[in-house]
Symmetry: C2
DNA sequence: CCGTGAAGCTTGTAATTTGCAAGCAAAGTA
DNA sequence: TACTTTGCTTGCAAATTACAAGCTTCACGG
C-alpha cells in the first residue's frame, strides 16, 4: 500500500487508503477507547508495533487529518480530530462483529451488550468525552 | 501481516487479523454491494489487484470463514458466509464515513441518504438478498 | 548547571510481502 | 481437435516490514 494516486472513488476504497493496514486502526482504537495518548503509550500496547512503523503511521494519520499532535518532543500527545472521531460508529460495529464471531474475544461482555441495546447512548458518551479532549487541545 | 499467533484478544485487532490489509475488504465489498462473484470479476474491479494477491486473499478469507467458494475451476463462484455478511453494518458505517469526509467520493448521494435515514431497512434488504444467495449455494 | 535517564523519533539492515509478467491446466467453443 | 477463456501458480525485482541500534531533546536530582 504505497501509492500516490487514488485507486478509485469507492468509499470502501477511501477507507482502505486512510487506514487499510495492520496497524493504523490500533492507534485509532487506543485514542478512542483507552487512555493511551503518547508515542510510548502506543508502543506499549499489547500488539507490540515496531517503532518505525508507529512513526510512519502517526505521520500518515496526521496527514490525512484523522489524528492531531499537540506539543513536541517529550511532552507530545496525540488526539483524534473530528474526522477521526467520526469513525466511532464503524469502530463500534467492528467491535460488535468481533464480539460475536471471535470465541476468544477480550471485548467485555457488558460493553457488547451496551453497544447492542443502547448504541446511541454509548456513542454520545464517547463523542462527548473525546471531542472535549480535542477542544482542550485547541487552547 | 504474516503471523501465526494472534497479537491480542482485542476485538479491533481481531478484525484487523481477518481483513486488515489493503485488499481483502474490496473482495467483501464486491460480494456485498456488486454483482462480482468470480475470480476474474474481482480482478476486473477498478482498483486492479494483482492476481497472486487475489488468490492469497481468497484463500485466507475462506480459511477465516468469511467467504465460501462453490464449484471449481472455470465455473467457481464466491459468496459471503453469514460471518462475512455480518460485516454489513460496519461496511455501511465505513461508507457513510467516507461519504462524509471524501470530497470526491463515488458513493451515490441517494444511497448515503438512505443509510442515514433508513439504516434498518437498507440492512434488511441486503441481508435478505445475500443470505438467499448463500442458501442457494447450499444445494 | 551538570549528569542521567527516559521519551520520541530516525536510521540500518535482513527478512517478508507486494506488484508485475509469464506460464499452465482445465473447461468451454468452433 | 485446435483455440480461447478462466482460474489460478510461479519467478523475480522492488517495496515494505520487523528488529535492533542510535540520536536528540527535555525533565529532574544533586
Amino acid at each position: 500500500m504505497k501509492r500516490t494516486v487514488r485507486r478509485s472513488d469507492c468509499p470502501i476504497n477511501y477507507a482502505l487508503e486512510m487506514f487499510g493496514d495492520g496497524w493504523s486502526l490500533l492507534v485509532i482504537r487506543d485514542l478512542m477507547f483507552t487512555e493511551r495518548r503518547t508515542y510510548s503509550d502506543f508502543l506499549n500496547a499489547e500488539e507490540g508495533m515496531a517503532t518505525n512503523i508507529l512513526a510512519s503511521r502517526l505521520k500518515k494519520l496526521q496527514g490525512d487529518g484523522l489524528v492531531r499532535k499537540t506539543g513536541t518532543g517529550r511532552g507530545a500527545r496525540y488526539a483524534l480530530t473530528p474526522k477521526g472521531l467520526d469513525l466511532l460508529p464503524a469502530m463500534l460495529e467492528l467491535i460488535a462483529w468481533s464480539g460475536k464471531h471471535d470465541r476468544f474475544t477480550g471485548a467485555p461482555k457488558g460493553f457488547l451488550t451496551r453497544i447492542q441495546k443502547d448504541r446511541g447512548r454509548v456513542m454520545a458518551e464517547f463523542r462527548s468525552r473525546l471531542s472535549q479532549e480535542y477542544e482542550i487541545g485547541n487552547r
